[in-house]
Amino acid sequence: MSEIYISKEKFPEVVGQLMSHGRVFGPVFQGQFHEFARLDKPEDIDLSFQNTRLSPKDLFHPHSERMFTYSLAKDDPERSILKEAPKDYSPSVVLGIRPCDAKAFQLDDRNFDTETIKDPWWVERRKTTTLVGLACNDPCNTCFCTSMETGPFDASGLDVLMVDVGDGYVARSVTDKGKECLSTLKGVQTVPAQAAEKEAQAKKAAEESMGQVLDMKPIYEKNTLELFHDPLWEEVHFSCINCGTCTFVCPTCWCFDIQDEVQGDSGERLRLWDSCMFPLFTFHGSGHNPRSQKIQRVRQRFMHKLKYYPEKYKDGPACVGCGRCVKGCPVNIDIRHVARLMAASCSCPA
């Protein structure tokens, strides 16, 4: 593995070098918020952010994606035959992604990239993208990654981890892909001794500022059906308005809908983000709906993240503690509070 030091003065030049090799995406200040976007020029990137409002999941799983196109023209011999829509799979770098979001993609991989079924678009984009992350020196008060098996300096989902050490960045490769990325850079320095020291201090301070706020173990140990039928959902769902914001901003909410759109004689099949908060999500053609009630939909979201996913994959939760749902919820539903209720729920006879 390799490590380099990039001074802040040199940073725009290094971004420029990356841009000359392929597409580069990074946090850009747009309107009132930071969002991940493709950089037009090196100065567009703004690393003075805590986290972006939306997760960068749409870089791999776009909010709306053209899957197939087709002709419906009566005299077209190819009428009604679906053709794959062209995609841009040229190499790209996501620069400045937070460790939690990178970890989230690993959790999502389990859904899109399995032994028997592979989602071609997700898998191909993952393959051609290098994740150059930026450690969090200053986590938000809504962050709880350290309780969700990741952390502000967790390199496990990244190809390269950068740390802001004041006057520059220390960048360490984590994977071969990351090493290759760093090896292309010119005009960088070896890591000065005091920078490494500052890095360790920043890590300690960031992790300590969050601490362990949740113990997930009792949730894993509980019986699924007991948790499912627990009265706690009455309290949790009460204020929810099913707006779907939590699922929209979440880096591990991958659910999608498939729809056809037609204009004139040509049509396309689209894949669009969907949400378990919406009644239509499970609405049968017959009119029956297994999750017609709000309480069922709210329960599904939290149970999926904190119970079903860990149980299915024998791993931690489908949550990385980025806190976006906590920040974005219009009625202040807090997944940390829900997790505590789930952990504490008592199955004693009423």
Binding site: F68, I117, P120, T224, C255, G267, H284
Partner: protein
Amino acid sequence: MRNPYLPYPVRIESIVTETEDRNLKTFKFVFLNKEDEEAFKYTPGQFAELSVPGQGEIPIGIASSPTEKGFIMFTVNKVGRVSSFMHNMQEGDIMGVRGPMGNWYPWETLEGKNVVIVGGGFAFTTLRSSIVYMLHPDNRSRFGNIDVVYGARMPGLLLYKEELAAWEQRDDIGMHITVDSTDDPNWKYNVGFVPAVTKEKAPTAENSYAIICGPPIMIKFTLPVLTELGFPPERIISSLEMRMKCGIGICGRCNLGTEYVCKDGPVFTLQELAQLPNEY
């Protein structure tokens, strides 16, 4: 690996109106490419996404049996946008099929066992596939007694009437066709609800498995009958319906707890269902 969202193009070879209310039509499809037909290897109990460009896709049980070559067959109830559109399509039209999807009835487990099939209404499609499969000369000796209780509200709503009549004539399958009521004086079969007919015909539970598909109300009242006859939950098999999109366990909407009905189901035993949240 082939793109799992890309349907195989098929041509509608024939359309048959099954029921007198005209709400059910059976579509026979022929693959446009021979290699696609070979790739589409299925087992009774599985389903596929029928894909109509410009309309969308619907998950439908496969009604043909893999022992029937050269075509695949689906019976489609007219309920929503895609199925209504399909009801207005013509023989010769081109559309798509994605699949096969999901698990199937546990044929290896059923080997050497008696099989009791209980079906109601239009949920008889994968059951037809199963009966045709079991009655095939290559397969019949693999199973013990085969009993079928199949009911509809009235005679005009039964599916596959000619085949039912042909099976009635055979001595290697016990057919118990029933209707809730009829004013047809020539009606030759049973009159009564499926649970009552099941109880009356009382197929043996010894060394037997039951496969039950039908409307929830029929299942609700038939399960106690099967239990009374001695079928334990691990030998009662059912198939679930769900709203689906991808059909391959990715899009996230058809789960019961940890299990996706499209990929881990649609076939579950009653014992398996008892362990899962009852959101179906």
